[in-house]
Symmetry: C2
Subunit: 215 residues, 2 copies
């Protein structure tokens, strides 16, 4: 293994360990000793990569955003209606959040109050949702009279709620929960002409447990 | 003012100040010096009422739960359909969350990870929602085939999302946001026979800004 490979591997381990600590103790309480020992490296090795806890957190958020974007791009988006793509994406996001502690911690960090500059995963997810609802309107597959802003807000708020509530119970990040949500929302969102062809349970079968973080 | 009145007034001021600090800095970062000076009292006066930050947080949560319960009980619940009561309650809750920093901090504390024993406002809200969805099913005003569990989860997750997202933008706690949510959800939840009589914007006009915390 080259020195470069070793450095990358250490950095990946540190980001994963930090994500676990942030999730378990919250940003404020997590400390650099626990993060380095969780990664099986010395405090000195941590400081070779990161100057501060804020820098580690920023790396977690960047890694999470990278994985989110890659996963979102993997969902085929052109052959089907925008609302189906949106349901599919939300299933993929929830799988990612369930299986990948880095994405989960990155998402929670971005929802937390604080003044650190950061990659805002909540905002990125909102812009995906916004783009797809706008596309549904363009396609005329959005039910007449539906407020685009209302639709975006309902989806974003529910997703954030799922992640926050999953701290106590991982069932909030299940296909069952997401399918139940879409079963209630889609009949209002989708034009009746296309509703029969839309699947609240998603069409792009997610690869369970395959969530890897691309650091 | 009697000694008892003064003590009650000081305790109320401490709870309000603590709620502000918890909201601004999060539980971990908030400190007792800021809480006592925010209430205009000495650190000694704080310790007369509370032994630790955990005790102050528990008092915030108890006060928030008290206000939540009182407000929920004020909404007339028998003369109208359970789903209308649910929409009305959610508008009241969102008003409370917007106007009363103690309720907002108590709700956020209960959503935060951590091992402190506490009054769980998220759970209390969930049990209100659960009770009303079950009542709608009994009344046969729930649309046929709707999963009660799915309905409860959608409402609870969206509410938690509204509160968490309101840290960055208070618009998430507006009547407009809540009405938009119910406009999308009610057509799926309500039996078509009663849908025309249900108002997503709520029927029990909330008293804007009147949210007081009953401590």
């Amino acid at each position: 293994m080259s020195q470069q490979e070793r450095a990358t591997r250490t950095q990946t381990a540190l980001i994963r360990s930090a994500a676990e600590m942030f999730e378990r103790y919250g940003y404020e309480k997590a400390n650099l000793n626990d993060i380095s020992s969780g990664a099986g490296v010395s405090r000195g090795a941590l400081h070779f990569h990161f100057d501060s806890k804020a820098e580690v957190a920023a790396a977690v958020e960047r890694a999470a955003a990278h994985t989110l974007r890659r996963t979102m791009n993997e969902v085929p988006s052109q052959e089907t209606s925008a609302l189906q793509v949106l349901a599919d994406l939300s299933h993929r996001l929830v799988h990612l959040l369930l299986w990948d502690v880095v994405v989960r911690a990155g998402f929670l960090l971005s929802c937390e109050a604080g003044s650190r500059v950061r990659t805002d995963l909540c905002l990125e997810w909102r812009s995906y949702v916004h783009g797809l609802v706008a596309r549904a309107a363009d396609e005329e597959t959005l039910a007449p009279g539906v407020s685009q802003e209302g639709a975006v807000k309902a989806v974003v708020a529910a997703t954030v709620g799922f992640v926050v509530l999953s701290r106590a119970d991982k069932e909030w990040l299940s296909d069952r929960t997401v399918t139940g949500f879409w079963s209630l929302l889609l009949p209002s969102l989708a034009d009746p002409a296309i509703m029969a062809g839309i699947h609240p349970e998603g069409t792009a079968a997610p690869a369970v447990g395959r969530g890897r973080t691309g650091v």
